[in-house]
Symmetry: C5
Subunit: 264 residues, 5 copies
């Protein structure tokens, strides 16, 4: 491939301008992150070694192509990016994609994997889930419901952790009341960490090989560690047939910054 | 490889015309999809990175070769195609092949993997099953039999999901009556989803490492998710030693469209 | 590599003539397949993608080299070949090798992997077993012994299936009488399929990570499926810690035909 | 890539001088290794085969680049290096990195993997943990507390072993008193090895798929072997769902020496 | 790489002469194989496909380099070689290395993997153990002690089998007396095979992910098979959490002969 024409570079400059307005309007973003019935996809990728042998200009153009693609899809889906390299096994980059229709996510990811940069990535794994109204909160005591409404501290939360969970058959055989009691104990254990560890739950059953994806954001990693340890000590934990495997740990990072690392 | 001769392009144009009439007559298709004793094979493939480095013309010819092969086999087998890229791990493309003789399927797949395009694919896995008359329905109450005859809504069902299942030894040790009772509870839980989630069962024991392949089609993915969750809550679910692993999720897509993505 | 000399082609032609007489005399073959104390090895191979980039002539010579090797060993070992491509995961070709001395098998396979063609194959897995006199039949009732002597239908049996089996520790802790009773129930379930599904058992304990290799040949795949399902329903099945993984499914095919596919 | 300019070599010489003062001041090092709230990361790498085909000069410059990077980060993190090749599966090199902030470790490792040498490494796995004050010692008898203060013998401890551990759900369901009793028995079994086997514990829950990383250093490998065997014989051992997998065994070796092996 | 100079060939010839005296003096060899406190390492390797594309002369020189290396280390370690190709999965070559210090083994293997030939090998796995005085024999009856002293038949024992073993937590929780009783039953079952199957035990706990490595040599493979089957039928066998996985089966072969196969 040759990228010699000045015209091409001009197009590229145009793309970079477009990318500056990439993020979806704040209101839309908030809706996708809080409404139920929204699909969340976690996709990890690993960079192959050949990428680094490309001439610098090719890499810059390749990165611009990805930015253009994300911009193009920003009306339909929300793409957030994470740097996993150095923290997670066999993964350099993670996308969290939110969409109302999973086929939109597929079209975006499929197009992404077909970009010049995408062809240098190996897909490391995909997890899909759908957001739902809380299943058990209605059965919790009022005091707990109030505590659950405490807002997390604002500020940066650089670390993100994704833990897929699969329940055992016994769990699903319990009636709603029994599961609510167990989830109340689980929630009680989690309360002290509400302020510093943000959490979002996705329901996965049937969409992949797990039942839930739990997503965490925190600035205080040791709080997160203590939260998970607290959750291990309640009875509900015994019903987890799989917890992690993989545990994905990364830092939230704008796509631009991650891609620039890859374009250096 | 060089593809310079105009004559070759002419042959290619001819193939493209042939491909337009590819799908089997509707009656044959219906028979293969509904009769018992028909073998169903699910084969996934992943595209290697070298494909994209081929000159455009080579890719177009390669795609035409595949279309010609499918056309050639259309009298004996039924091939349906799915785009898995962006939804399933380590798989870009899936074929569902129906045939009365599994060696026909083998000959087709073997020839496919030997095409110019096939040589750029890595086979990701194969699952085989055979369709059979319902095993337990005869023992169900009449009212349930009637409900089971409700037709699914027509219309497009873009999502397809494949879930292989392996029962535990205890399940097979149960007598027919006990299994029928458990399957009746299972079927009861599935009834609310009959209209929006289409389902087909294949029996696999001995043909590969699972006992069943369950295949689903739906336009409403959340209904499918709720169906699987409902099935997890009945007693029969405890006898699943394996459920998924992999769960294959994709969208139904004419071979032409998928291949054209690969020929862009 | 260049294969330009006419002399070489002449040698090649000679090899092809030799290959025509390759199969061992029928009597020897029968002995190796029926006597006890004979080692059976199942070896699967996958073709790499580079093979197809070789010039046609190189591939023809490579195939002839393999045929010559098989011919050379035909006095000591019996090699049967199967096409697995399109039916089994990650395997294109399988050899079943019978020999009185396992080191002969090793020398043959080692030489095969060193041929020009062999260097384009990735070894997918090896299973070894030894044939023994029946362990439990002596304890069966006379009527069953008679039924077991029924000959299978002659005719082609195109499908071959290999299922490795590992028993649990409890099985080996049972005494001979208890195991005989369980195997009698097992054999009773298998009797209806004696005519259409041929079966051969190899004992593997210590030679690899399984206890038995069961090998099946059949023209009627659905009978085989029903046989395995019947065997799942007897008590002995609960003592299988591993059954399959992999299940190898293929079609019997003369080496010439398989290799010619690879030489097209 | 060409490395012809004498100027470049001069820069290189400068780097080598800097590297000579690389290790962090002893006081800082001690703090990072003994304080609580410090993150420890174990990262293994495997060298690809292409590295050895680079011209010698390129390799020397590549190694100097890594040394420069380690030097640059020495104010924030502590990097220790181990040769795993020849002792551990699929791993040539291991870093143990200590940092107060895990994102510093990420930035260092990410930069390392982006160096010329790093691009020839395949990341083999990452384990993260955080140091904490002892959990159970407060509940131990005074005599045991005294014994625990015995200093290990000084001198070289060339062997290092890393064993990740995951506890079962039952362990976490035990109350503090029960766990203390079990850990007292565990500690009692370990006492005879305090002098010759140095040990450090990291808490991992939530940060990866294990609960603990245990790190050992010893000159007397058979003592270490006997220590682990002694620990297998106490009741607490039954609560280990995973112990090792992988067990990483290597020898402590200055980065310079390891890299020089790779630059020969 | 070019190997044109006659001088180089001369050096090579010299190496070949040295190699002729390679094996350690018989007395040293005997000591390393019988004393306690000696480390045994089993290392398997697989040849890559590129090796065969090297010019013949390069391969000859590469092999000579390995022979020279083994010679150079012969004063400190004992290296025995086995051909695994054709008998074991994903392994062509195995070394059994005995050393009094495991870091010597590491240095040898590390240097071996850095040779020209080593760079064409993929390391398949490493198992380490240490020889110890028998643990249970002291508690056996005198008659059994006498039987254990029977010498194995001399003569060639071409087959070698390596079976790693991991005990369950329950085994280690048994007291010495209980374990001795179980090992006495185990030994009783093994006695009939003492003459034809030679056996050596290595203790691995902590050094890798198994507890023991059992190494067998025999000329009569069916005896070995029957021995393992007999051992499966005693109570001690129920405490094996892992037995094999992998089972390594090969034939003893002088390094020269194996390497010559690789240099053809």
């Amino acid at each position: 491939m040759n990228f010699r024409s000045a015209g091409r570079i001009a197009v590229l400059a145009g793309l970079l301008v477009l990318v500056a307005v990439w993020p979806a309007p704040a209101a839309d973003r908030e809706k996708l992150l809080t409404e139920s019935g929204v699909y969340g996809t976690f996709a990890t990728f690993q960079m192959d070694h050949d990428w680094w042998d490309l001439p610098g200009e090719s890499r810059v153009i390749s990165v611009a192509e990805v930015k253009g693609l994300v911009e193009q899809w920003s009306g339909k889906i929300l793409v957030e990016s994470y740097l996993l390299r150095g923290l997670s096994d066999h993964a350099d980059l993670m996308f969290r994609v939110h969409a109302r229709t999973l086929s939109d996510t597929q079209q975006f990811l499929s197009a992404f994997m077909g970009t010049r940069l995408g062809r240098h990535l190996t897909s490391g794994g995909l997890l899909h889930g759908v957001s739902k109204k809380p299943t058990y909160v209605a059965g919790f005591p009022e005091s707990m419901k109030t505590e659950l409404q405490v807002n997390g501290e604002s500020g940066s939360r650089p670390y993100a952790i994704v833990i897929p969970i699969k329940k055992d058959a016994e769990w699903w055989a319990l009636d709603q009341e029994a599961r609510t009691a167990l989830m109340q104990e689980h929630t009680q254990a989690a309360l002290p960490y509400l302020k510093t560890v943000k959490r979002k739950l996705y329901h996965s059953t049937g969409l992949d090989d797990v039942d839930f994806i739990t997503y965490f954001e925190t600035e205080r990693l040791e709080d997160f560690h203590n939260l998970v340890r607290a959750l291990q000590q309640v009875k509900e934990f015994r019903h987890n047939r799989r917890f992690g495997h993989p545990t994905l740990l990364g830092t939230m990072s704008p796509l631009d910054e991650i891609l620039e690392k890859f374009a250096q």
